[in-house]
């Protein structure tokens, strides 16, 4: 009967070995860094100028939210890297979110959205964000009703989608189409990879070599997007705000409750279980989707819970093998990636690496907020008076 306890440990050891092997295997077949091409466009939501223009208005329109005060742009501010410049996103009024807001720039290239890949398309990400209690807190019926009371939207939805009345599902399609225009394909790295050797400094070229070699970044941050779009636990510690901020504690418990975990996990989990929420596999605890490194010059702070405010801190964290300066790491060490090991980078190497990371970003993409179309009564006074006499 000893076997009842032993296999666990054996299985774990096996998993680690398998992980290393998988890691090595992917290292061999790792897609190289590459210039970023055009984003994939889904066949059922093609891009048109009119759709993109409508999506832009909707992206900035707070009426797509519960109390008409927060829009997509409230947490994805163009001036804050199309993200939110705090560790944890601001959240709906009266709340705070629990994860870092990710940039919209280049989100078009991801197969799945959100830190744990909970949405399978931009079209599905938008309603999840607009409706979540700690994000937009909107409901389909009221948001759809609001769109119908905005004459310009009635006209635009009709022209773009043929809607007799604006359908909320088409609002998400238009927003997704707008987001697919928010891409950056002309970074110094893109130029360099296309043959312009002068696009990177010598220091950045040294950083690139470290990135692809000694520092091992390429194991996950590979391909044109600099993301394998897979899920890893790299050792990010829980955000200290959960120990210091009552509002953050509320949201943390809410997420455990709303996403559905068992009683024991609800009581005792003190860190974001990430991918576990989707798979309910214990080996997925603390895993998050590898984010692209593109546009990161503008999207601090970093990591799923904004644990680090600078790229230097990020590099230090990896250099230490997934441990912070003050010795903190993931609450789920069993599922931590074996790929994350101390790197023994020198100070100069770390500087080179940070310099190279900056080559993943081009100019800042800024955009003036559009003037939003106003509400107007749907019926004329004459219509109404006619009805009254019925």
């Amino acid at each position: 009967m000893k076997l009842r306890t032993k296999p666990k440990r054996l299985a774990l050891a096996g998993a680690v070995v398998a992980g290393v092997i998988v890691g090595l295997a992917t290292a061999a077949e790792m897609p190289p860094l590459a210039p970023l091409g055009d984003p994939p466009i889904p066949a059922d939501n093609i891009q048109t100028d009119a759709k993109v223009e409508l999506g832009k208005l909707l992206f900035f329109d707070p009426r797509l939210g519960g109390d008409a005060s927060v829009s997509c742009a409230s947490c994805h501010e163009p001036e804050q890297g199309w993200a939110f410049a705090e560790d944890i996103s601001r959240g709906y009024p009266g709340t705070v979110h629990w994860r870092n807001s990710q940039t919209v720039i280049n989100s078009a290239y991801y197969g799945k959205l959100f830190w744990a890949g909970a949405a399978s398309s931009l079209e599905k990400q938008a309603p999840s964000a607009a409706k979540g209690a700690v994000a937009g807190n909107g409901e389909n019926d009221i948001m759809e009703a609001r769109l119908a009371l905005i004459p310009e939207y009635r006209d635009r939805f009709k022209a773009v989608f043929g809607d007799e009345w604006p359908l909320i599902g088409n609002a998400w399609r238009a927003i997704a189409a707008f987001e697919r225009t928010l891409v950056q394909t002309d970074t110094p790295l893109d130029k360099y990879l296309k043959g312009d050797a002068s696009a990177l400094t010598e220091q950045q070229v040294r950083g690139k070599e470290l990135f692809e070699g000694k520092a091992g970044c390429m194991s996950c941050h590979n391909g044109a997007l600099a993301s394998d779009q897979a899920y890893h636990n790299i050792g990010v510690p829980p955000n200290l705000r959960w120990e210091e901020d009552g509002l953050a504690q509320i949201t943390f418990r809410y997420e455990l409750y709303a996403k559905g975990v068992n009683e024991k996990m609800y009581r005792h989990t003190k860190a974001d279980p990430g991918l576990y929420f989707r798979t309910k596999n214990k080996w997925d605890k603390g895993k998050f989707r590898t984010p692209s490194l593109r546009y990161t010059l503008y999207t601090a702070p970093y990591m799923h819970n904004g644990a680090f405010y600078t790229l230097e801190e990020v590099v230090d964290f990896y250099n230490a093998g997934g441990v912070t300066e003050d010795g903190r790491t993931t609450d789920f060490p069993e599922s931590k990636s074996p790929l994350i090991q101390p790197l023994n980078l020198s100070d100069e190497e770390k500087e080179d690496l940070v310099a190279f990371l900056e080559a993943f970003s081009g100019d800042e993409i800024l955009m003036a907020k559009p003037e939003l179309p106003p509400y107007a009564p749907l019926f004329t006074e004459a219509d109404l008076l006619l009805e009254v006499k019925k």
């Binding site: 008409a68 009266g94 409901e139 009345w165 409750y257 019926f379 109404l384």
Partner: protein, 370 residues
């Protein structure tokens, strides 16, 4: 006796009995009288009171139950149409929650007939009312040590959605009319004359019967539509969302509140424009009146009925011009006022202690269970 015969005779007996009862009802409507006193659990009711006045029970923490059900206005609202959640409006008048516990069906259309626990959930979660995800509400409540203690003291244990929905109705039990001149047999002569008219010439008691002064049924009295529903997009959006949700076809083009049709769904639509007979208690504080607040004062209401109600093809045939004199109309108003009790505005019924400005942090968070 064979089984068949037994069944037949039982059935006949039931029919006879029912017939007798219904004849009795037609002759004399359920008697007017004071409302029964209700036993309440003090600790639960006190907790319910703190919850009722707490804006943290709404999605953006901006409004509480009391924002619309304001004690200053008899736990109703002085606006014709209820204010609604921020960014939204509403399309109906806020009914008082005083005596709500004595009702069997709730809302102007009577769409809920279970219990106040369900009504409480409906109000907290409805997007144009309080727009609260109750899971988030539970965690907010759990973050407040005052609540943690109060839930414990009330015997609920740990704060939960279920106990919030139990405690608020317990508080509502304490909101029962008391001290009305009618109940205390202290009516003025004018009010007494009004009572006679109420039960006689004016025919009010045909619908406004029993201790609640309501038959608990829907009627169409021809109250004009409140066009502010459609003029103000904030109100109209709530109206559209509601009708969409309730399955009313053509909700985008709808220009009138269909009332009880949302639950009766009569094919001939004869139920369109029917609304539940409201209680007449506490009218002194709850102006404006009718399901959409279209009548501002009690004299206006009496004049409305004296004219035989409004205009509507589905209007209840019970409504006919009453030919009341001005003096009789005054007497009726006096009687209606005698149905209002003492204002429930003291701290016995109102939570007056401040709520914390921010949520207290749970100390040693990593080591205490969530």
């Amino acid at each position: 006796m064979s089984n068949k015969v037994l069944k037949a005779s039982l059935l006949a007996g039931i029919l006879v009995a029912t017939g007798a009862v219904s004849t009795g009802q037609a002759a004399e409507t359920p008697e007017l009288g004071p409302l029964p006193a209700l036993e309440t659990d003090a600790a639960k009711a006190n907790l319910g009171k703190r919850l009722f006045f707490d804006p943290r029970l709404s999605g953006d923490a901006a409004i509480s139950c009391a924002s619309c059900h304001n004690p200053e206005y008899g736990f109703a609202n002085d606006q014709p149409l209820s204010p609604g959640y921020p960014g939204n409006g509403n399309f109906r008048n806020t009914p008082t929650v005083i005596n709500a516990v004595h009702k069997k069906t709730w809302f102007h259309d009577g769409r809920m007939g279970t219990n106040l626990n369900d009504v409480t959930r409906e109000m907290i979660t409805e997007d144009y009312i309080m727009n609260m995800d109750m899971r988030l509400m539970q965690e907010r409540v759990k973050q407040d040590p005052v609540y943690v203690q109060m839930f414990k003291d009330a015997g609920y244990g740990e704060p939960s959605n279920g106990s919030v929905r139990n405690a608020i109705p317990e508080f509502l039990k304490t909101l029962t009319s008391r001290g009305a001149a009618f109940d205390e047999s202290a009516m003025s002569d004018a009010a007494k004359r009004g009572l006679n008219l109420f039960q006689g010439k004016a025919g009010c008691a045909g619908c406004h019967s029993g201790p609640m002064f309501s038959d608990g049924k829907p009627h169409n009295t021809g109250v004009p539509e409140n066009l502010e529903i459609f003029r103000d997009p904030d109100n109209h959006q709530a109206f559209i969302a509601f009708n969409m949700f309730m399955g009313n076809g053509n909700y985008m083009q709808l220009k009138r509140d269909v009332g009880a049709h949302v639950r009766l769904h009569k094919a001939d639509k004869s139920d369109v424009g029917q609304f539940m007979t409201p209680s007449l208690r506490e009218l002194k504080y709850t102006a404006p009146y009718m399901h959409n607040g279209m009548l501002q004062t009690l004299p206006q209401v009496v004049r409305f009925y004296n004219n035989g109600g409004g205009e509507d093809k589905n209007k209840d045939p019970l409504l006919k011009p009453l030919n009341l004199t001005a003096a009789e109309q005054n007497d009726l108003v006096e009687f209606l006022l005698a149905l209002s009790g003492e204002p429930l505005t003291s701290d016995e019924h109102v939570w007056t202690e401040p709520y914390p400005d921010e949520y207290e942090v749970i100390a040693d968070w990593r080591n205490v269970p969530n």
